[in-house]
Amino acid sequence: MPALLSFLRFLADEAPALIPAIRDLVHSWCDKTGVDKAELLPALEGSIRDDVAKIDADIDAEIAREFPKPTR
């Protein structure tokens, strides 16, 4: 289990955009196997890169809202 936790933390740090999909995967895998979700899900939370990805997503939404598309 520690190896799996480390791997989940690695994914959360290196590919924050994948976190929602990985979280779903963890849920369904835990449902199938009976492994306690509470042991695994915290590894996907609170990553600094996740926080940064959220800020970037807010800014991207602002750009989409406020700026005109380029004309060709």
Partner: protein, 140 residues
Amino acid sequence: MRALGLVIALSLASCGHAPEHRAVESAVLVANTTRLAIETSEAAAKALYRQEQRAVLADTMAQGGNMEDAKRAVTVVRSTWKPVWDALAAARQAHEGLRSAIEAYEAGRGAVADVIVAAGKLRAAEDSAAEALRTVRGPD
């Protein structure tokens, strides 16, 4: 913040090895003080990062820029800040490493030397994070 938020407490009162006791106590102090420093740096960095992106968007808007111009402008800010996020992630990881080393020592599974090494790595990681942040923010 979950991992960083854990308060490390040792019960070394009954330990008869005074130098080891002092080394581990010192490592606990490092773990707790750097946790606060890392949390503070992260909060400040995230606020400034958002603010800088908003500032370049305001400039782009004032110059009549379009969506592509805005995306280019924030890409520059994001590239500039990437070393800060790498350094802060490394500092969090080093903190987790020290926490694990202390817990292993407490449980009789680890050596004091591992705790000392982990504390050194955390100090170095914290210095790197502070330096990365200074580089982005410029001199005070």
